[in-house]
Amino acid sequence: MTLLGVDDITVRFGGVIALDELSFTIDRGEICGLIGPNGAGKTTMFNVISGVYTPNAGSVTFDGENLLAHPPHHMCRLGVYRTFQNLALWPGMTVIENVMVGRHTAAKANLLTAPLRIGLKREEDELEERAWAALDELELTAYAFHPAAGLPYGTMKRIELARALIGEPKLLMLDEPASGLTHSEVDELADLLRELRDRHELTLLLVEHHMAMVMAMSDKVVVLDFGQKIAEGTPAEVQRDDRVISAYLGGS
């Protein structure tokens, strides 16, 4: 059953066509790899789905909803979470606070209850416990009370993952989660992501330059080049595709 439907999305930046009538769908529970050379438009696609960019044309449906009708801060409520290629953490907050922000939408404190501490202690305790559990799943509890600044790159990437997890996503979009990791760490990450998918019933959209990982993990792969979809299919199918081979080896 289709969870995400991207239909004829076009994004232009001045003369650059970042996405050119791109269409694809992801089924519930699927892991979909989105690959392509540098500048192919992968991050742009994430930004469209998460409401950061408004496309020039096309539509995105999620769980039966018209996603483009929603501002970025509604995505959490709908169940769409993402991580960033270049990290979007808050260096001044501790790691656990960073993760707690991921549950902003589900938390309830308001302008009346928060200052008067009505139900605040309970909510904060619950948020901390959930954040702790998410950190635990990603083996990050040792950093929980450190400031998020100055941690290793791979660690910060996992903090972003924890921040997304705590919001109970339906669709989780990961922008190059394996960048900066060693080979054995990449394998661990792949195992971890599969476990998370099963345990939290996630649907994953995975952007990654690490081909072995994408091919091993994905149920389906969409290949972009210059904003256009040049192939779509199972890992085995796209690996055999002539256009994919030439996009990666020659031309661009």
Binding site: Y81, F84, V101, H104, T105, L116, E123, T141
Partner: protein, 400 residues
């Protein structure tokens, strides 16, 4: 570098440490008015410096004002150079309600808080499209026009126009409160008794001490409310949008709403500070709330420490006492300079520049780092803190 004392969060030892800290703070707060009931005027290097309860009360009001500014500048990271507008609005609303309509000071908050909150929200709306220096300019304009608005002919009846508005109603200590007795008790203490002057309190001093306690109590309540707010999802959302708006948005923070809210809260807390000012000074003048005061608030916040709660406390003291003492400095030992003139702002300016280089993050961060050398609190994992879940407990057979 390891700290000298390490406490595990939540242990009895940690609690005692906290209790001692708060106890000492409370003690100082209680002793201060009795020490300064009679204006202190020590002579240092040939200059006579004063500390009066009037100045202290004024500083407490400005602590709250700076706390308000903190909501927008410190927590949501939007430049506001117009904070005196909100504080002034609060002061004049209180002055009018108390003087012309006979309301008690605190009751005026029922009007002051909602009205300033709404004004703040309205100012926050253009702030959604304008950022940085331009936002600074627009808000600066607000502060600049405030005195003229107050002096408008159509408002002068109520506001006192350029003469200012006197508030004759005063805060008089109730009969059951024996401040005199406290003063005599402190004066009778061995060794330190001399600090508290002699001969009990005059009627005027008693009122000043009483006013001080009321102001401190109000400030404590406002600081407590704000502390709770910034330690909730709302405070985290504000910091999140300040440091990484995109990350905040995809985590569900409505950027526009929180930016506007920052202005609203800032104005409402500023309004409370205005009420406190009116209560302690007993007079509101249009020119007091111009652009200079707005800059002073910002300087106080930056010197004290943005996005902290101790910062505004330090800032309030700094923007009152630095200019007062600077004005009282007439000679620098050994140099023989004649320092008569408006040196208060100059010294504040120099402090700002020096501190920005030496102590980025303000005095509050400096103090925090200093404390970290001596005291380290090891946070407890939430799982440890809450103990085993009820379901995990093994039922103990009741022994007969």
């Amino acid at each position: 570098m390891t700290a000298r004392w390490v406490f595990d969060e939540g242990t009895p030892r940690h609690r005692s440490y906290q209790a001692i800290g708060w106890g000492l703070f409370l003690l100082v707060v209680i002793l201060v008015p009795f020490v300064f009931a009679e204006t202190w005027a020590p002579t240092v290097f040939g200059n006579k410096y004063t500390v009066s309860l009037g100045n202290i009360g004024h500083a407490v009001a400005w602590m709250v004002a700076i706390l308000g500014l903190n909501m927008v500048v410190g927590y949501t990271g939007q430049l506001s150079l117009g904070h005196s507008f909100f504080v002034g609005s609060g002061a004049f609303m209180t002055a009018i309600l108390v003087e012309d309509f006979g309301w008690p000071f605190v009751a005026t908050l029922v009007v002051v808080v909602p009205v300033t909150f709404v004004i703040g929200l309205l100012v926050g709306i253009p702030a959604l499209r304008i950022q940085g220096l331009y936002l600074g300019l627009i808000t600066f304009g607000l502060a600049a026009v405030f005195p003229s608005i107050i002096k408008l002919d159509s408002l002068a009846d109520r506001t006192g126009g350029s003469n200012g508005k006197n508030i004759t109603s005063d805060l008089v200590p109730p009969d059951w409160l024996n401040l005199e007795g406290f003063a005599e008790f402190f004066q009778g203490l061995p060794v330190i008794g001399g600090l508290f002057g002699s001969g009990g309190l005059s009627r005027r001093q008693e009122e000043a001490v009483y006013k001080y306690f009321l102001l401190v109590l109000m400030a404590a309540v406002v600081f407590w409310l704000v502390r709770n707010l910034v330690h909730s999802r709302i405070g985290r959302a504000m910091l999140a949008l300040r440091d990484n708006p995109t990350g905040a948005a995809v985590s569900g923070v409505n950027l526009a709403a929180y930016k506007t809210l920052g202005f609203g809260l800032s104005a409402a807390v500023g309004g409370v500070a205005g009420m406190m000012y009116a209560a302690t000074i007993g007079f509101a003048s249009a020119d007091e709330f111009g652009s200079t005061l707005a800059i002073f608030f910002l300087v106080g916040l930056i010197v004290g420490g943005p996005a902290t709660l101790t910062g505004p406390i330090i800032g309030g003291l700094v923007i009152i006492f630095v200019p007062v003492w600077a004005g009282q400095t007439e000679e620098v030992p050994g140099l023989g300079w004649d320092l008569n003139g408006p040196y208060g702002s100059l010294i504040l300016g120099v402090m700002l520049i020096v501190l920005t280089f030496l102590l980025p993050g303000g005095v509050a961060y400096g103090l925090r780092r200093l404390r970290a050398r001596f005291v380290q609190v090891v946070p407890a994992a939430p799982t440890v803190r809450s103990g085993p879940a009820p379901g995990d407990m093994v039922a103990e057979p009741i022994s007969s």
